[in-house]
């Protein structure tokens, strides 16, 4: 077990290094105007040149990368070039918002989609058709379009929720709940539908397995067969879909945060990339990749726990 985790951590680090370098290269080619953008339109050419030297923009790619990496390894990710906010600080103030959005949406998806998917697989009939239809609809309507509709209806017209976030450090629970409800709904609808469909097909597949029949023949109650045996065997397939959904959602949340003016990672990503704020972009990319790696590791560990066969190999 320990060696498995270690192996995964090593491979995770290699992925991290590769992505850092790749991103840094990309940013290198976009960094031509950064000094001018930082200093503003009234700065003179000399000021711009001085700033470029200060930021090290005049040095070759590899030198810059290793300098950055050297600092990063020591936990120093620098500060934003534009507003001097330390990268770590910028991320830690925004992370709770994005993670709350994504984690809550994922939790809801997991619970609702599992129940719906199982109901569809077992009851068939209208609930099955509903899930199938909703899955197509969910796939067809991008979540940001749903977000727009939700804002227009529930915030602007009905005033049920604030149109933009009212989250701040001193805001209470109410503000969080009020600000998060619509975005979470926008995020989860299409996830619920498509994951429910995956759960459905996984459950159907498992229900047809021989051991289910044998368990029935042994007098095990139907609910126990479903929740203990079928669900457990169907879980790895659903988990894989969920983990992919999670990665997708880290991207999808970017647009949702823009619509609801939520000060999360997505807003930070759009701002920092469009301005070429290299330290911040690197921070954002690294954070995302680290989260993805951790989630994948967790999924593998859970899969191992669920399926003893995988655990051994």
């Amino acid at each position: 077990m320990v060696s498995f985790i270690l192996k995964r951590i090593v491979s995770g680090i290699s992925v991290l290094v590769a992505i850092s370098f790749f991103t840094y290269c990309l940013l290198y080619f976009s960094s031509t105007n950064i000094a001018r953008n930082i200093l503003g339109e009234f700065a003179s050419q000399e000021q711009v040149a001085a700033k470029e030297v200060e930021l090290g923009l005049d040095r070759p790619l590899l030198v810059r990368f290793f300098e950055w990496a050297g600092q990063a390894v020591q936990g120093n990710f620098g500060a934003s070039w534009f507003n001097s906010e330390p990268v770590i600080g910028a991320i830690t103030t925004r992370l709770p918002i994005t993670l709350t959005l994504v984690v809550v949406a994922m939790l809801c998806i997991t619970i609702v989609a599992t129940l719906l998917g199982m109901a569809a697989a077992i009851k068939r009939g209208w609930i099955d058709r509903l899930v199938q239809g909703a899955a197509v609809l969910g796939d067809a309507i991008p979540d940001f379009v749903l977000g727009i509709v939700l804002v227009a209806v529930f915030a602007i017209n009905l005033h049920f929720f604030p149109a933009t976030s009212s989250i701040s450090p001193d805001a209470g629970m109410n503000a969080w709940v009020a600000s998060m409800t619509l975005p979470v709904i926008a995020l989860l609808i299409n996830g619920v539908a498509s994951v429910a469909q995956q759960v459905r097909s996984a459950v159907i597949k498992q229900m047809e397995r021989d051991y289910v029949r044998t368990l029935r023949s042994r007098g095990i109650p139907e609910w126990e067969i479903l929740f203990k045996h079928v669900l457990r065997s169907a879980a790895p397939a659903a988990l894989t879909v969920l983990s992919l959904k999670f990665v997708g959602m880290l991207g999808g949340v970017v647009i949702i945060e823009q619509i609801f003016a939520l000060p999360g990672m997505g807003a930070l990503a759009v701002q920092s990339t469009s301005m070429g704020d290299i330290p911040l972009v690197m921070g954002v990319v690294l954070y995302t990749v680290v989260i993805v790696i951790i989630v994948n590791l967790l999924v593998d560990l859970i899969n191992g726990w669920l399926n003893p066969k995988v655990r051994v190999s």
Binding site: T32, N33, R36, S44, S168, A261, P263, S274
Partner: protein, 507 residues
């Protein structure tokens, strides 16, 4: 509250249950109680730093005005009023400015404001070369005469210098804080409000609370001011309409929605819109080197219709780049180029371009709509407008680097001298090809040395630029600033958004 992962999960898991109670009370601050004691603003731009040497004219002024006093204060109409300086006088040749200073002011860290502090700030501003470093370009030296008096010596007369003292150059921070790293995120000023770092989130919202013992109670009309950074126009509109902010800058179209919801419009004109015709010597696009071609372009535009259709008539058509309040404005010049495509074609033919020519300009998402319109107008007289999409962040630098012979843009209409240094003089950012003529140079010098008459001299510059079609000015658009009825607000002349002093609770 602290956001442990557990608490946040619980928080939103109970979302459904609490949502109904949460929405009953309405969203954020500034929305409760009869007489407003709090003010919440939606800002288009984010606050980059609290370092006053990096302050920038325009959208972020309210952030600085909350925490710093400036040496001179600018009234909403543009008149200069005393603030930290009680009076100011120039010498004969307008090269030495004497300022009398207040002596009863302290900074938020307890330090006393005096002449030394003022000098330290001015010196630091010149040395720091921040965003608006140009404001200190003519500043030669600052001398402390006595604790309540300084003299500022200029290299050459600068008609806009007193105006600068109301802007970035005029902000005064505690001498203990200036030049430190800390000032970027934790300001120490003498302003009417203090920054509440604990309640603020960088890049999202900035909270300022009333400062105890401030010297001018009239400037402290609220207990708390919150400025939210809302970059997206629709998000800003939604926030205003749903009562989460008290005031925000919208545009003519979203303004319709705000008006429908009972918001109050406060219109002012700040920018002129049009096309900057940079390549007046024909380096990239030879045709632009011919004054007749530039004039033809000016004749080709149906300004009135575009204003009506694109901006719902929220603005005024113009053919000059100086604003009515600048002093350099010449009303008659607005009849120079009536819409006349036939004349445009004739001029093009005279200039040797009967079949027109191709003009390439950069475009970004924000200008996409108008560029489609401009393209059509120019096509009607035979000029082919090609647009090249570039990242918005590169727009200014690409223009400044002389990559394009012309560009769609909107430029701030400030004091004449500011405007000249922005787009006309050879050192101006928006004169990338450094176009100049001896005639114009002479006119510009006259403005610089004109003293009290410099505005009149600027009229001549204006006439020259208009007649020679240096630009394609189309209109001055209304700055659509909206507020709800809980507060009163006055627009600030030549400033994108009102100064922080211009807000008051509604009576």
């Amino acid at each position: 509250m602290k956001f442990g992962p557990k608490s946040t999960v619980v928080a939103v898991l109970t979302a459904a249950a609490l949502a109904l109670t949460a929405c009953g009370g309405g969203g954020g601050g500034g929305n409760n109680g009869a007489a407003a004691t709090t003010l919440t603003l939606g800002s288009v731009n984010d606050m980059k730093t609290f370092d006053p040497t990096d302050a920038h004219i325009g959208h972020t002024m309210p952030f600085y005005q909350a925490v710093y006093d400036s040496l001179i204060r600018r009234a909403p109409g543009g008149e200069l009023e005393p603030m930290l300086a009680t009076e100011w006088t120039y010498n004969e040749d307008h090269t030495v400015l004497t300022l009398k200073l207040r002596t009863d002011v302290t900074f938020s860290d307890g330090t006393k404001f005096d002449a030394t502090a003022a000098k330290a700030n001015l010196d630091r501003f010149k040395e720091a070369k921040g965003q608006d470093a140009y404001q200190a370009a003519s500043l030669k030296s600052v001398d402390v005469i006595d604790p309540a008096t300084i003299t500022i010596t200029l290299n050459a007369p600068d008609p806009a210098f007193t105006y600068y003292l109301t802007q970035a150059l005029g902000f005064v921070a505690s001498p203990k804080a200036i030049g430190t790293e800390g000032i970027k995120t934790d300001p120490d000023g003498s302003g009417p409000y203090v920054y509440d770092k604990a309640s603020s989130v960088k890049g999202s919202q900035y909270v300022f609370t009333k400062r105890e013992g401030y010297w001018d109670k009239d400037l402290q009309k609220f207990d708390k001011i919150t400025i939210k950074y809302l970059v997206d126009l629709t998000a800003r509109t939604n926030a205003l309409v749903s009562g989460q902010v008290d005031a925000a800058l919208l545009d003519p179209k979203s303004g319709k929605q705000a008006e429908g919801s009972g918001m109050v419009a406060h219109k002012s004109q700040v920018d002129w819109h049009g096309i900057l015709l940079f390549d007046r010597d024909g380096a990239i696009t030879p045709a632009l080197g011919d004054v007749k071609v530039r004039q033809a372009i000016n004749y080709a535009f149906d300004r009135k219709t575009i204003l009506e259709q694109q901006y719902l008539n929220e603005g005024t058509v113009t053919e000059q780049v100086f604003g009515p309040e600048s002093g350099a404005y010449v009303p008659e010049l607005d009849n120079t180029y009536p819409y006349d495509p036939a004349k445009a074609k004739a001029l093009l033919a005279e200039a040797g371009y009967p079949d027109g020519f191709t003009l390439k300009i950069p475009t970004v998402a924000a200008f996409d709509g108008v560029n489609a319109v401009y393209k059509q107008q120019l096509a009607d007289v035979g000029i082919k407008l090609e647009t090249e999409t570039i990242p918005p962040a590169n727009l200014v630098s690409d223009m400044a680097a002389g990559k394009y012979s012309a560009a769609t843009f909107q430029l701030y209409q400030g004091e004449p001298w500011v405007a000249i240094n922005q787009m006309v003089s050879t050192s101006a950012l928006y004169n990338p090809f450094k176009s100049e003529t001896p005639d114009l140079t002479a006119l510009i010098q006259a403005v610089q040395n004109g003293g009290d008459k410099s505005a009149d001299e600027a009229k001549k510059v204006n006439e020259y630029l208009t007649k020679n079609a240096w630009f394609l000015p189309l209109f001055r658009l209304n700055q659509m600033y909206f507020s709800n009825k809980k507060i009163d607000v006055q627009p600030q002349l030549q400033q994108a958004v009102p100064s922080i002093y211009n807000y008051a609770p509604a009576k």
